[in-house]
Symmetry: C2
Subunit: 316 residues, 2 copies
């Protein structure tokens, strides 16, 4: 019998944590910048994105005869890279010039501790070093003896991550979010709903997709498998965003590890604001059903299915 999902995810998080420690040690940055990078990166967190990278690699690798540990080892540099990119985006989004958040993952945000200048550089460093984690041979994320994916696959992973995180993806989504702040209710109906989905598809969806797709690429996935993982992750990412918005309305600061009710206070467009709480919950369930169907259609097995179900019930 397979271990419970929480046992599995804890195993993956430990793997990611160890690999991130290797990356920090291998880089050897000056202490002035290494300290805030460590503060931001080695914080308690769900590690959703790197877990998706590893779980997707395991699922696709199984279809190609790779054992789970080998598949995960090939994808581990990308798992670290996507967590580094995610962390950079949190550090920059929390800045006073952006969302101005003082609390993140239950701790003071990086700029509160180190100042705005170093926080900007912390994000810049994490983002840049993420690409080295995938491109360098051997990867600073690799344990001795880890197998390495072929150059073509790693190059494609670099492009996948850059496309998802860049001006067309996450950065573009954050720019749209900045521009839209305070406009909730100004536009109603289909236009606002479409704009909200487009903004989230870029701001959070693109990186969740890239995380999963990189796992599939590095485990040797074919076009059909990569497309299935991408479809799975698109719907999973949307479900996560809807649940986040619902939790922001319902949750307390202690549960969330960040300031609750902040989105509403900032006048931001959210799923509950546009569709109501009950419809938002139904939308999330439909997303998860579609995500699971995409896996079945491509004969992909493994823990991705459980992760999709878990995403609905989480409380933070």
């Amino acid at each position: 019998m397979a271990p419970a999902l929480d046992v599995y995810l804890t195993e993956l998080r430990t793997e990611v944590q160890d690999a991130l420690e290797r990356v920090l040690a291998a880089l050897g940055a000056p202490p002035t910048i290494a300290a805030p990078i460590r503060y931001a990166l080695i914080a308690p967190g769900k590690r959703l994105r790197p877990c998706l990278t590893l779980a997707a690699a395991e699922s696709v690798g199984r279809a190609h005869g790779l054992n789970p540990l080998e598949a995960r080892a090939r994808a581990r540099p990308a798992a670290c890279a996507v967590e580094m990119v995610h962390t950079y985006s949190l550090v920059h989004d929390d800045l006073p010039a952006m969302d101005d958040d003082a609390l993140r993952r239950g701790r003071p945000t990086t700029h509160v501790v180190y100042g705005d200048g170093l926080a900007i550089l912390t994000g810049d460093g994490l983002l840049t070093d993420a690409f080295a984690a995938i491109a360098r041979s051997p990867s600073p994320a690799a344990a001795p003896g880890d197998p390495e994916a072929p150059p073509e696959a790693r190059l494609r992973a670099v492009d996948t991550l850059a496309a998802a995180a860049g001006s067309v993806g996450m950065v573009g989504g954050q720019a749209l979010d900045l521009a839209a702040a305070g406009t909730a209710g100004a536009e109603a109906g289909t236009t606002a709903a479409a704009a909200l989905e487009d903004m989230h598809a870029r701001k959070t969806g693109a990186l969740i997709r890239a995380a999963s797709v990189m796992g599939a690429i590095l485990a040797g996935g074919d076009d059909r498998q990569i497309a299935a993982i991408d479809a799975y992750a698109r719907d999973l990412g949307l479900a996560f965003q809807i649940v986040d918005d619902v939790l922001d309305v319902e949750g307390s600061a202690a549960d969330l590890g960040k300031t609750a009710g902040k989105d509403a206070a900032a006048g931001k467009l959210t799923f509950p604001a546009l569709h109501g709480l009950e419809t938002s919950r139904l939308m999330a369930t439909a997303c998860v059903d579609r995500a699971r169907a995409a896996l079945v259609a491509a004969d992909l097995t493994g823990r991705l299915d459980d992760i999709a179900s878990w995403s609905l019930g989480r409380t933070r």
Copy 2:
């Protein structure tokens, strides 16, 4: 007879400009972020780094039987990438939380025009998209029919750029510079001189080296040629930094396109402050002599030699 250096550099700058326009068009970012990215990137500038990428590719390519246009075409994605990374660093360094500059390349800085939040995102987008320019196939920087360097070489170029720009390189140097602001004269002698050179080696030297080395890698250079180009660029970069510091003391805002005397006013460590103007000039000349010798020792010909000489006489 070869054309004069300024004619040659103008040709290279036009090539870079055209390629950057292709990158912006191919990316297709939302207008909210595409506008400030264009504002920052398509500004009058020396384009030193991409010119070095192209000239190094031409020089190394010649030794491997590539004609100049073919060698430059293979290196063009990296030339765009290094200019995008350089531009991102200027946009972030100019922010109020960093060097707080209102004028750059003779125009209002990006954050003055678009606000701090969008300026941070502009830098983030440029940095991320730079890696896509190298990793994607075909590159958004490529003209139809352009030859492409092999995957191994492009992966190595990604790592070269990430290592130079990341927390060990440029970002680390800027962090050290931030931490050192206001400490000029606090420490005198060898320690301060060594700290100054280390800071500059990271902050500006690393990217100039990466620019040149990527050109050598993508043109098919062997280890000896790549090492020679790296040695050349290390000394050229140091010469550039020394001349910049000298010009900051001597120059006017109109010549420099930025606020003159700013370094001294900020109490920053500079070469003239540590060594005096005359010794600083001699140090720059010695750097250029060493840079030219590195080329000769590896039998590399072409315009890199002229570029080194030109770097001493420039007025901005």
